[in-house]
């Protein structure tokens, strides 16, 4: 849901990039109409009621059994990008439900380039011997939210004649690493590195190096420790901290290994929940996020669920009481 609202916010960027946007779910058409109206959705929201297309594509989430009404029929969430000929050029499927590609990440994938924007949060630092670093929080208009991916982009500018190394390196040398140091609750995937050049030095052997402008991309996402769907005391912002280890060399000599720390404050966005009540829910009569959480909890705990709305509501009440007791 958050993902759809973010996609809508990025519609001008999709239009500018010449990419048409379609979003498909198993929801009934009425539910999609209500959602489109309440969130001013202008891209195509398509109803695959019965999950026929989801099955044909082979992306039905088969871990959800037929008994698990209303969840049966959902896909493994993901995105296909197609070119002008309709051929798939990239796919974005993540293993965790909390990881959805940001709209900007999809546009980058469709265009095959990294489009950093001037309004994205960024910080710069000067390193060793004229090397400069910039850390940019890419995607989502600079806002961190639970449920959608962002990218931390480390741009390194190396003066002519200097290079830095990819792994593996010879003993005593330091390869370039870009690691996330904080905050707690921000998770990352392996860093995407640009292609290297091979530098063959006599007595050292072939080394993989970067020179000029180098962009390292680290996908990150916020867990509930940062932006919970259910708390209303999320922080207004968090400080992202990264550490860069590197050693710059010329063809003849190396500088000492260095460590650079960069930090960047980004705003935490409000969770975008359902604006609907009593519309389109299959077999239940309330649709707010907190009640859905409890129905979801019942499903995963193997309890009887929506075939008996009274039992569901009783369980929800139990959850609410537990919640208020906790406070």
């Amino acid at each position: 849901m958050t993902q759809l609202v973010e996609l809508q916010a990025a519609m001008p960027k999709f239009a500018e990039a010449g990419i048409r946007l379609y979003a498909i779910s198993y929801d009934e058409i009425g539910a999609l109409q209500a959602f489109a109206e309440s969130h001013d959705i202008t891209f195509e929201l398509l109803s695959d009621d019965g999950s026929k297309v989801i099955r044909e594509f082979g992306i039905l989430n088969h871990h959800v059994t037929e008994e698990q009404v209303p969840f049966h029929g959902i896909p493994f969430p993901g995105t296909y990008l197609v070119d002008e000929d309709g051929v798939v050029t990239a796919k974005s499927f993540h293993r965790s439900l909390a990881q959805r590609q940001s709209p900007e990440g999809l546009i980058d994938a469709a265009l095959g380039e990294l489009l950093l924007r001037p309004d994205e949060p960024t910080t710069a630092a000067e390193g060793d011997s004229g090397i400069s670093f910039a850390l940019t929080y890419h995607g989502g208009n600079g806002i961190i939210r639970g449920g959608t991916m962002r990218e931390l982009v480390l741009s390194v500018d190396l003066p002519d004649g200097l290079h830095i190394y990819d792994e593996p390196v010879a003993d005593g040398m330091v390869a370039t690493t870009f690691t996330l140091a904080g905050p707690t609750g921000l998770r990352s995937l392996p860093v995407r590195k640009p292609p290297t050049e091979t530098l063959d030095l006599p007595g050292v052997g072939p080394l993989q190096v970067w020179s000029g402008r180098v962009d390292f991309v680290m996908p990150v996402w916020a867990t509930a420790e940062i932006a919970s769907l259910l708390r209303d005391d999320n922080p207004d912002s968090v400080t992202i901290e990264v550490v860069v280890d590197y050693q710059a060399c010329t063809d003849k000599a190396c500088l000492l290994p260095q460590r650079e720390r960069l930090s960047l404050e980004v705003a935490v966005g409000a969770y975008v929940g359902p604006a609907l009540r009593g519309s389109g829910m299959r077999g239940a009569d309330e649709t707010t996020m907190d009640t859905m959480k409890w129905i979801g909890a019942m499903v995963t705990r193997g309890l009887e669920t929506t075939s008996d709305p009274d039992a569901a509501i009783a369980y929800l009440e139990q959850g609410r009481q537990a919640a208020s007791f906790d406070e």
Binding site: S25, Q33, P75, G86, V87, S96, S228, A322, A323
Partner: protein, 77 residues
């Protein structure tokens, strides 16, 4: 619960159980799981009703433009 300690999970309300559907730690998409049509192949065509009331046949509708097709879980929950 508790018979499988790997499944044990304490949620925000202090209740113990398997990880709920909304938990980011849960990994429903196993490494060897299919993710549908492969890169380099033509995306299969489909015809569905849109929230705007149209019948949308994908390849015809997009014309000769690039497209992103997002499969999401639900607009309701």
């Amino acid at each position: 619960m508790g018979s499988d300690s790997q499944l044990e999970y304490v949620d925000e309300f202090g209740m113990v159980g398997p990880r709920p559907i909304t938990d980011g730690q849960r990994q429903p998409l196993a490494v060897d799981e299919t993710t549908g049509p492969e890169v380099g192949t033509r995306l299969p065509d489909f015809t569905l009703q849109s929230a705007g009331g149209d019948t949308v046949s994908f390849h015809e509708h997009r014309g000769n433009e690039k497209a992103a097709v997002v499969f999401f879980r639900s607009a309701v929950w």
